[in-house]
């Protein structure tokens, strides 16, 4: 208790240094938490993506041509339906598989001859609705059989789009026109937060034949297409076991590709939700070590402010050297002094940490769209429009990270100055200045 009172006395008497220390800590914790929250968004489980920990995906295939005169030719893209089935269909340990368009796109939707309405659409198969828990406000999802209906295919709209197009949400059996083809609305779902990249759309179109085809510009590119695969693993499935199966499927696909004058290489798929969020078309098929990079960023975010805060701490201690000397004279051991100073600094760090925690939530809730557009160069329109909700950000892990970061920052900033201060000869310390 005395230590806390001493700390507040010290803070009152060194206001400038105290506020800079608290501010520096707050900024550091703020950056750590924003980084943590940003990285945890791909795995946060919010409806309709309530099984994200069990949902894995494969987004692309890489094919290199091997024929004469084709050296150096290669292509990377989505998968054709055929390739997706060959590589990921009927795997042991997978509860459900869904084939969806590899990205979202902007389409024009026309209703009753009114001006077209631009909207974001994704193509999904019938199993998509089994993997994700959409809340149907009205109507129902479409089935796999309905997807292949070419005359009046079904469509599902978001609540917002239904209102925009019709002014109401009870629009089941109403017709819309997309690309000159009539579609019938079979259901309306609750709007999905744009942060949920696999499920956010205005319009959910059936994955018809045109989505399932492979490329036709080179025989070996026939396995490339415009699909990605989403896999819902059964509870307790070992992801490595699935990877082993896929690796062996790649070998089989390669023998087929060989006959067509091409080859591919296994890309460590399927990816977990987090890796899916990071992967981009521009990169080679090898998966970078995301975790290592993240720890490096955490270390830098803590270490750089820690260097400055450590100097501040040294400055603050200068005023207390004689007190430390007196304590040593009356029996305090070095570790008593270090313990006291670390404890005091921890309180300052916790105060700064709390401010940083609040700032990070405020930032993520109100300013994240601009942040996502800035840091996520490969993001779709969804990422730019994304605003996480409080429930997406609120987690005990965030608090644990904040507390852990405070502890690490405290040790980094205070241990060296505290040890140095405690190591002074008591006689010298007492004579430094007067209490």
């Amino acid at each position: 208790m005395n230590y806390i009172r001493q700390l507040f006395y010290d803070m009152r008497h060194q206001k400038m240094m105290t506020w800079v220390s608290i501010g520096g800590t707050a900024v550091s914790i703020f950056l750590v938490l924003v980084f943590f929250m940003y990285n945890s968004l791909p795995t946060v489980e919010v409806a309709p993506e309530t099984h994200r920990q069990r949902i894995y995906g494969a987004m692309k295939l890489y094919v290199e041509l091997t024929g004469e005169g084709k050296e150096g030719w290669n292509a990377s893209g989505g998968l054709s339906y055929d390739a997706a089935q060959k590589l990921y269909g009927d795997l042991d340990g997978v509860e459900a598989i869904s084939y969806v368009s590899s990205g979202s796109g902007s389409i024009n939707v026309i209703v009753d001859g009114k001006p077209p309405v631009s909207s974001i659409a994704i193509g999904v198969d019938g199993n998509f609705w089994k993997i994700y828990n959409f809340n149907f406000i009205t109507g129902r999802p479409f089935t796999e059989e309905e997807c292949l209906n070419t005359t009046r295919p079904p469509i599902v709209l978001s609540e917002k789009m239904a209102r925009h197009l019709f002014g109401i949400i009870d629009v089941v059996d109403r017709e819309v026109n997309i690309g000159g083809r009539p579609y019938v609305v079979v259901g309306v779902v609750e709007d999905v937060n744009p942060i949920l990249r696999n499920t956010w759309a205005d319009v959910y179109m059936p994955l018809g034949e045109e989505w399932r085809k492979g490329w036709d510009n080179q025989p070996a590119y026939v396995f490339l297409g415009s699909l990605k695969v989403l896999l819902l693993y059964a509870e307790g499935t070992d992801p490595e076991n699935i990877k082993a199966q896929v690796r062996s499927r790649y070998a089989t696909l390669n023998s087929e590709l060989e006959k067509l004058g091409g080859k591919t290489q296994y890309d460590n798929s399927p990816y977990d939700a987090e890796t899916m969020g990071k992967n981009s078309w521009s990169k080679s098929p090898t998966v970078t070590n995301i975790a290592a990079k993240r720890w490096l960023v955490y270390a830098l975010l803590l270490l750089l402010p820690a260097i400055n805060l450590s100097s501040m701490m040294r400055g603050r201690l200068q005023h207390r050297i004689s007190e430390i000397g007196v304590r040593r004279a009356y029996g305090a051991r070095r570790r008593d002094i270090v313990g006291q100073l670390l404890g005091e600094n921890f309180v300052v760090t916790i105060v700064g940490g709390c401010i940083g925690l609040i700032l990070s939530y405020v930032f993520m809730l109100f300013f994240s769209s601009a942040f996502f557009s800035m840091v996520d160069r490969w993001s779709s329109l969804a990422a730019k429009m994304a605003t996480p909700t409080f429930s997406m950000l609120f987690s005990w892990q965030a608090f644990a990270i904040a507390l852990g970061a405070c502890f690490v920052l405290n040790v980094l900033t205070a241990s060296v100055p505290a040890w140095r201060a405690s190591s002074l000869q008591p006689a010298l310390a007492i004579s430094k200045n007067k209490s």
């Binding site: 001493q6 000397g325 007196v326 040593r328 305090a332 000869q425 006689a427």
Partner: protein, 224 residues
Amino acid sequence: MEIIKLKDVNKVYRTKEIETLALENVNLDIKEGEFVSIMGPSGCGKSTLLNIIGLLDTPTSGTVKIMDKMTADMNDSQLSAFRNANIGFVFQSFHLIPSLNVSENVALPLVYRHGVSASERHKLVDDVLRRLGLSHRMRHLPGQLSGGQCQRVAIARAIVGDPKIVLADEPTGNLDSKMGQEVMDILHKLNKEDGRTIVMVTHNEAQARMTDRIIRFFDGRQVE
């Protein structure tokens, strides 16, 4: 019986450019229960000697034996525990911790002593403050006290742990003559009534003459 025994003690302060001899071949025996004054001009090594006796500093060479213990053999923790149990300090500028109240300042040595419960600590602090006439100031901060009261608090802190030795570095140096006399009376009482050994650095000849023995220093050497 000697409670403090210094043999061939030298203390040299070295910087890159110069070496300063603060103490030169000091040999000193102080008996248990003695009240000794150390006198000499400023910079002659009096405070350095007191720091070495108080184990706040180490000699460059020579041996320091306190209560029959060779202090050179002790590590940091042992030195801390030894100081805590056996030595009390009174400084010229009091060195009270400004953020702690009188009671907390006095309790400081007991905080670092193992096996002293909070209730025991409170009782010991109450007793010593009552003895020094400071009971009514227990909750005051040092900034709310006069110089004489501050020094009485510092003396209370020095004796609350019942040390055998009290080292006082110019204890009246910052006080007017009336308050200075009050402090000297207390120190004499601690010596006569409690039998504590007191070593006091002073510039005041009159105060020194009232002690059992005067040791004079000049340029780091004991001259008398």
